[in-house]
Symmetry: C2
Subunit: 698 residues, 2 copies
């Protein structure tokens, strides 16, 4: 079979696996829809949540459209080369199309996830009143729709764009589009969800002493909406972005290797397609068997997916000419290290392990000690993951080095692809969390009885356990991806340097003060970015608390719970939405402007340092924040389960403070840093030609 | 004048300036001793503080001696080259001597500082009952003895070792000795001071409701001892270390440049000597003039010192052959940027500026918001300093680049020397803080009346204000120093590679996976190190709280304040001391072992990445922790001054939580990270030959 033959087959397999994934997702969605939901309260509240989520998504997409329109002008004028430089203007147009496709495709995947998640929650609650097995299936399959949609659509997009334009630089435009959306969805959704959560807690639990999901609280629907827009749509967009970025950077590097054949490009698509197929098999096998638990069911389908992926890729490496075992080894290392990072993350955040108990115990001395011990273990928890990423990058490189250094870099990119191969499964597990979390709230509001709530609790706790693992996985994958993005950046910068007739970049030397200059500033950016998001949650929550106070003051009978009197839920959703987007913009712009300033001052080498500083400190801070947040959350839950004095004790009050600090850490700032890194890397890659042309010290 | 003539003159000037500094320090000490202290309570308590500080110092030096003995065996066996490799064994002996000199010299400087600080505090308190001017002079001159001792002795040591052995590699041994001591003094002292502080607060203020300095509290003397061992001896050892490291790394690089002449080596000593002379002049001019305040007096002497330094160095650059204006420019950039970093740090932590007020305001919503806003502004506050360090390194490099790239690296080292030139003044200002802080406590215990306490408060608040500036300065200088240490490391590694007949390192390429591997792990180390120190404070405080409870239980009449009944202050000091040293060892070893593991796996290039990752994340975290801690401290003080509800309000309680979190941030972990970076850099430089010989991927 000749080279073009291989590519044709690979494209066919890619599109075929996408088709299966979409058909399977539609089947699962219809299956979920067939499940009954009779309780009227649940139907009503579930409807309110769905409407609220749609409000946010509509606003978000509208604002994104404005942002994208502004970005489009710049993209068209400058990229891949300035329109006035005599380059090919049609290329700039193609870039624009790819960018829009990236945003729109990711938006569609997010929308699908929200639709199914908001229709699964009520059904899951009602099923929980019968038995745990069917409730689990509804929660899991609801999440799986999101998983399949994200991976299927991202593969479709990447393959389609390359097939259409045949230029990996244009693929970067698609990736940038996906990143733009992720920035809005993940960071915006993160601010939304924590605004609502914090405001609901402050006014409800603290001021009025009413329970968490009390319908009198005007923020209660916004709080539930937040779970969906933050954890479902936001997380989906984040992993859509990572997945696209991993594939794209692998493709950019593969392109430089594929002079005679397309074997490497084919390999990227083949692995991605096989990962999708493995995820479908994993999803199809997920169920609670006799004597099993929800946690075991979720974990075992992750292991099934991984095993299937390894076997399938080994088979095709053996069969297809030009596929190398070294690259297979690199991708396998990526996958295995991903699992290991997940396990170590679990050690630091699992409620049954010692660290959570230590933080709970420290809470007896007061909230300062909850915070100090959580910060400390959060910092320590970053180490194993950092080592994991470092080792997998080194191992992937060393495995592929015998083929040449260019292949070694490709090996790192393929380790990222390998780590993300089971992303369909990861998203399914992750989206399961907010669905069963919502279901628990709905079971309470619909008064389905204590046994149902107990079942929902068990499902919820499994969601929290696997969430830690998947989060570690996602950060690890992002870490490897951005390394290959740095490689992609270098390819782009060198193409620009070659075109300009300047000396090529052979590397970014730490002893080069221009690189060092970029690195120090790059390292500070994730800290500032996350600080701005946290302060954004703070400000936004203040607005929402003021609105809640107003409603309690002006709506008569609301505080007393007079029948028929309802709060204006919409107003709270409205405030959370517009505030979230308003607070997000300055943080995103700060990161982009810093990239431009460093690029225009220091040129392409400074940007190399900037990206690396950004990656290193970004990984450290996002691991720290995500893990510390999870740790505090579970320490509180551990105390609430009756330990260290139990609910209402001084230790519990201290643990609540820790949890409140951890909320924006783990759900707003921590996971948004990944997106910030990707956005900045892509801006750098896209602007490389401009930096080559105009820079002070370049 | 020939080359050797220049060196002779320079050595003479160096030793002459050291002599003046020591004579002046002795004069100031005698002047302080001549001031009266009549109040018996003050004499007693001051005596107890002195005895407690001596207990800690004795234990610390004993443990250091054990550590140094163990290190000596390794040093002798391996450095600068393994004894069995047929190298010159006398060199290994010289290295050993230099190492011991480094620890002993630094210990002497620390001891001098403690002696004068603990005899100044009571005198300062008594003088405050007369007038502010003389009280200020006692506090300042007491601090100045420490400043002069540190800078004088460090210059004497560096010059003496080079004169004696004539080998800059041996100078690294001296620097490593100073770092070893700094690790014990700064991190150990930091754990001590916060153990005592936290325990005294928890039992005294929180459990018993007695005031901060109540003599019934068994921890109260330990608390005052902590100010001295942490802020005076610890900070002094830290800056001794930075100053030696800056000079040594400049000397190592100068040595590679000085093939024909010794002009560059001469320049390093000349600048250091002139910095010392400028500091003497600045110290001599410090006093509160008519209509001035303590803050203005402290700041104006800093500015005088800077101006004198610039003028003197310009003069000698104009006169002495071989001294270049470019290098002068680099050193000037360093000094100016140091001042700028100080000013921006001040903006984030000054009680009269908006950030502190915002955090105080956020405290109204509860302690979680105090923590969240403090963490956020702490992160943001790191940005200007990171930019400052980045810009000064780039500017110093670019100014000197026309002379050749080697000179450009020397320019960065000289920027660090420039920034540290006024270190004598900086230490004087910094040591002033704990003296007047102690004086305030003594004034209260000695019942000197409200007016005296008000005066002491004014002196104390000036101490806090300048502390923020000097801390920013110290971190900035450390940042530049470690860059030049990286340069020094590369020189050392290349010497070893050349001897081994291997290819030289021309740089550390970020795209090299071995470098990247080192960098990711290096970046995680400061986080883990600071976490271990914070947890150490925590554990140690628990032991001390248990002891305080025991005393209140077993010593009859203590709780009621029966006349003649005294707590066993010694036991608390004993616990704080042994616990501090016990908690410190694992953290220090962790950093050193990580360096060795990375070196043996990845070889010299991995260590380059490791050091850079360590520097970048270390700077970020130490700036974050120091500034956030200062911010919380001042937010609490702002509320205590009657704002946002004042003392006893909910906002105040929240601010106390913030302050308790900030205490180990700003006084234990944050400033110790500098020392960790220096220790790791020196271990790397010293071990470079070993890593060249034995490493897996090297």
């Amino acid at each position: 079979m000749d080279t073009n033959g291989v590519m044709t087959v690979v494209y066919c397999i890619s599109f075929f696996s996408v088709a299966i994934a979409i058909v399977f997702a539609v089947y699962l969605h219809l299956w979920v829809k067939r499940q009954p939901v009779k309780n009227q309260t649940i139907r009503d509240v579930s409807g309110l949540i769905k409407a609220g989520a749609n409000t946010f998504m509509r606003k978000e997409y509208k604002m994104l459209a404005l942002f994208a329109a502004a970005a489009s002008v710049l993209l068209f004028l400058f990229l891949p080369s300035p329109v006035w430089s005599g380059g090919d203007i049609t290329k700039n147009l193609c870039m624009l199309i790819a960018y829009w496709a990236g945003t729109v495709f990711s938006a569609i995947a997010g929308k699908m996830g929200i639709i199914v998640a908001t229709s699964s929650n009520g059904r899951c609650a009602e099923a929980a009143s019968k038995d745990i097995k069917s409730a689990f299936l509804i929660g899991f399959r609801g999440g799986a729709v999101m998983g399949l949609a994200v991976v299927g659509i991202s593969l479709f997009g990447v393959a389609g764009i390359l097939l259409l334009f045949g230029d990996t630089t244009i693929s970067l435009g698609f990736s940038f589009g996906a990143s733009s959306l992720a920035l809005f969805a993940k960071a915006g959704g993160g601010i939304f969800t924590k605004t609502a959560d914090v405001s609901a807690d402050l006014t409800g639990k603290v001021e009025l002493g009413i329970p968490e999901d009390d319908p009198r609280n005007p923020a209660v629907i916004a709080d539930n909406v937040g779970d969906n827009v933050g954890d479902v749509a936001g997380m989906g967009a984040d992993l859509f972005d990572s997945n696209v970025a991993a594939m794209t950077s692998a493709l950019v590097i593969a392109n430089t290797l594929d002079v005679a054949t397309h074997a490497n490009t084919a390999m990227v698509f083949m692995y991605a397609a096989l990962g999708l197929i493995a995820s479908i098999i994993g999803i199809a096998t997920a169920k609670i068997g006799p004597g099993s638990t929800p946690t075991r069911a979720l974990n075992s389908s992750t292991y099934v997916t991984s095993a299937v992926f390894l076997v399938l890729t080994a088979l095709c490496t053996a069969i297809i000419p030009g596929f190398s075992w070294q690259i297979w080894g690199a991708s396998t290392v990526g996958l295995l290290v991903g699992v290991l990072i997940g396990i170590t993350t679990d050690y630091f955040t699992d409620v049954s392990k010692s660290i959570v108990k230590k933080v709970a115990h420290a809470s007896r001395s007061g909230s300062a000690f909850t915070v100090l011990s959580g910060v400390s273990y959060g910092f320590i928890s970053a180490l194993p993951a950092m080592i994991g990423i470092a080792v997998s990058a080194l191992a992937a490189y060393k495995i592929c080095e015998p083929m040449g250094t260019e292949y070694a870099l490709f090996g790192i990119a393929m380790a990222a692809v390998g780590m993300l191969s089971i992303v369909g499964m990861i998203i399914s597990n992750d989206a399961y969390g907010p669905i069963v979390d919502n279901a628990r709230g709905l079971a309470e509001m619909g008064e389905l009885g204590e046994e149902t709530i107990r079942v929902a609790d068990e499902l919820d706790s499994a969601g929290n356990t696997v969430k830690a693992v998947t989060k570690g996985f996602a950060i690890g994958a992002a870490g490897l991806t951005v390394i290959s993005l740095l490689g992609a950046y270098m390819s782009e910068a060198n193409a620009a340097l070659e075109a300009a007739g300047k000396a090529l970049i052979t590397g970014f030397d730490l002893m080069d003060p221009v690189v060092f200059f970029g690195m120090l500033i790059g390292a500070a950016i994730p800290a500032v970015f996350s600080a701005m998001l946290i302060l954004g949650v703070d400000k936004n929550a203040q607005r929402m608390v003021a609105e809640i106070h107003r409603q309690f003051r002006e709506i008569r009978g609301l505080r007393e719970g007079k029948p028929g009197v309802k709060p204006e839920y919409d107003r709270c959703i409205e405030i959370a939405t517009s505030g979230a987007l308003r607070e997000l913009i300055p943080a995103g712009l700060m990161a982009i402007i810093a990239t431009l300033v460093v690029g225009f001052i220091g040129g392409p080498r400074a940007i190399g340092g900037f990206l690396m500083g950004n990656i290193v400190s970004g990984l450290l801070l996002s691991l720290f924040m995500s893990n510390a947040g999870g740790l505090w959350d579970n320490a509180k839950k551990y105390i609430e389960a009756g330990n260290e004095g139990g609910k209402g004790s001084e230790a519990h009050k201290a643990a609540v403070v820790g949890d409140t600090v951890g909320d924006p850490f783990k759900d707003t700032a921590g996971p948004s840093i990944n997106t910030q890194i990707t956005v900045v890397s892509l801006v750098a890659s896209l602007m490389s030609a401009i930096f080559v042309a105009f820079s002070f010290f370049g």
